[in-house]
Amino acid sequence: MTNFTDLFESCNWNETSKSIYAKTSVDVERALNSSQRTLEDFKALISPAAAPYLEQMAQISQQLTLKRFGKAIQMYVPLYLSNECNNICTYCGFSYDNKVRRKTLSPIEIMQEVAVIKDMGYDHVLLVTGEANQTVHTEYFKKVLELIKPHFSHISMEVQPLDTEDYKELTPYGLNTVLVYQETYHQDDYKKHHPKGKKSNFQYRLETPDRLGQAGIHKMGLGVLIGLEDWRTDSFFTAMHLNYLEKRYWQSKYSISFPRLRPYSGGLEPKVVMNDKELVQLICAYRLFNEEVELSISTRESIVFRNNIVKLGVTSISAGSKTNPGGYAVEPQSLEQFEISDERNAKEIAQMISSQGYEPVWKDWDVSLTKN
């Protein structure tokens, strides 16, 4: 069976990049006026030539998002289970070579964390780990899912890439959504940022969404870490990946995140800085390109930015997040994966959303709907 690698290898990074930067206002206007936008239109919308059209893009993005998703923003929260990791990643606080105390939550500790999260009002949870295949593996995930399933309507995972069979095994335990970010589609740069560990295998990561699709996972999340490479080119590959997946795995839903590199103790400086205007441009470009994809924004972004982005195309938001295992109850002082920027709690964010005429949605799934 062929997979995304074949399509990916038919594209050259430098040429793709050049073609994005060569887009003109004529291309942008064509993209804006089109009713079925193509990948070439997406290139125009993320190009520097589209910068003067930002307000127009935002208006269309708002309309399209309202039509599909209504005046509603979904609320989710991450639950970090473990910071054990055998990978070296130049940008991550959990990197193997980073001297921090390692911890994987026990069942009792997980339930202490869950109690706090439930108190905050959450019903959708995102489980996060590093990659430590000796201790944090499919069997561990099964136990965690079994433990927390009665407490949440929707469970997502952002953990190491697994095999198709693992995903199939986890689904009946309540796994609904899997997020696996490529970090960058620039293969050489990927190798530089992931010199050691299983994560250094570019192709295995690149083909993860294919495995998720084959396993019949309900929803999958894509994205790159913005700051590692040219964000326009990386985002184009993300859009291309999305396009490919939607056609092939038509029974899965998709979401996209656009995390910008955040500081952590001893961390990497971004190679490419993306400013707020550019992030809005990217979010709107995704919406104009794909009316159905969910767009998610985390606490990495600032208060002002998050207040204003609610109406521009995003569909889900996290709040009150802790990025360290045990951060909610067990060990609030331990080292975080990255520093969050918006520290308002869930209630404050819900109020902010309501005040803009949108409804914060806590429950939009039911585990009992999935009877596999």
Binding site: K71, W250, V361, W365
Partner: protein, 254 residues
């Protein structure tokens, strides 16, 4: 009056509960619409919680709940969801929505037929959301459906009655009420649906996403009434040519 299974309805405008800016806003709009059948997604309500925000705001004696199975991908999941709804919401009415395709939310005809058959046997009043497929409608009748809900255009698209030619066939040959369910973007679309003889329409996005949902709900109520009245009064036929002379047959009168 419209009758579906054992219930009669004064209003032929059915509504939905999604996409509103708040439960209060939703309640105001639904009251303005005077709708008596309101669909609610099982995935959005907390069936374990008696204080669920959406359900509290739907607690009016004239509003009947129509739970829907949105989110399920096959007959098996749909049947389970319907049973869950019957248990917690104490209604055997179910809007069957099986769309394995989360992008365009196109209904799966095969799984829908299977589930309708099974649910009708289990005593449910089944209202299936389907493509505007006349043969499928007849097959659903055989399977024991209580109504059919063909789409006007893709759900949430506001594109109007793109399937009108097929809707007309469905209406002309149906033995169960025909409710046009998706894509109705403006009151004029709803009026048109009623003019061609639909028994009812279901509208959600066009009301919820409007800048003034309450006012839009009232506009839909009036449009549905007008369209129905026009249907009952019998519209004049549309003539493309003037009919003053009969050049081909006038020799017969000579």
């Amino acid at each position: 009056m419209l009758k579906i299974a054992d219930k009669t309805f004064k209003s032929r405008l059915f509504t939905g509960t999604g996409k509103f800016s708040s439960a209060t806003e939703m309640e105001k709009a639904l009251l303005a619409s005077e709708s008596e059948l309101v669909t609610v997604a099982l995935k959005r309500v907390d069936l374990k919680d008696n204080e669920d925000d959406i359900l509290i705001h739907l607690n009016h004696s004239h509003i009947n709940l129509l739970p829907n199975t949105s989110g399920v991908r096959n007959a098996k999941e749909a049947i389970f969801a319907a049973q869950m709804a019957r248990e917690s919401l104490e209604t055997n009415w179910i809007k069957l929505e099986i769309h394995p395709d989360p992008k365009y939310l196109m209904p799966d005809p095969i799984e829908t037929l299977k589930a309708t058959e099974e649910l009708a046997k289990l005593g449910f009043i089944v209202l299936p959301y389907i493509h505007a497929d006349p043969v499928l409608c007849k097959r659903l009748e055989d399977a024991g459906t209580s109504a059919v809900m063909p789409l006007g255009s893709p759900i949430g698209s506001n594109k109007g009655l793109k399937t009108i030619d097929f809707l007309e066939i469905i209406i002309s040959q149906s033995n169960v009420p025909v409710i046009i369910d998706a894509g109705i973007g403006a009151p004029s679309d709803a009026a048109k649906a009623m003019e061609i003889g639909a028994d009812a329409v279901l509208v959600n996005t066009a009301i919820a996403v409007s800048q003034h949902p309450e006012q839009m709900a009232r506009a839909f109520k009036i449009a549905v009434e007008a369209g129905r009245m026009a249907f009952e009064a019998k519209l004049g036929s549309v003539n493309l040519h003037a009919v003053a002379s009969s050049p081909l047959t006038s020799f017969l009168d000579d």
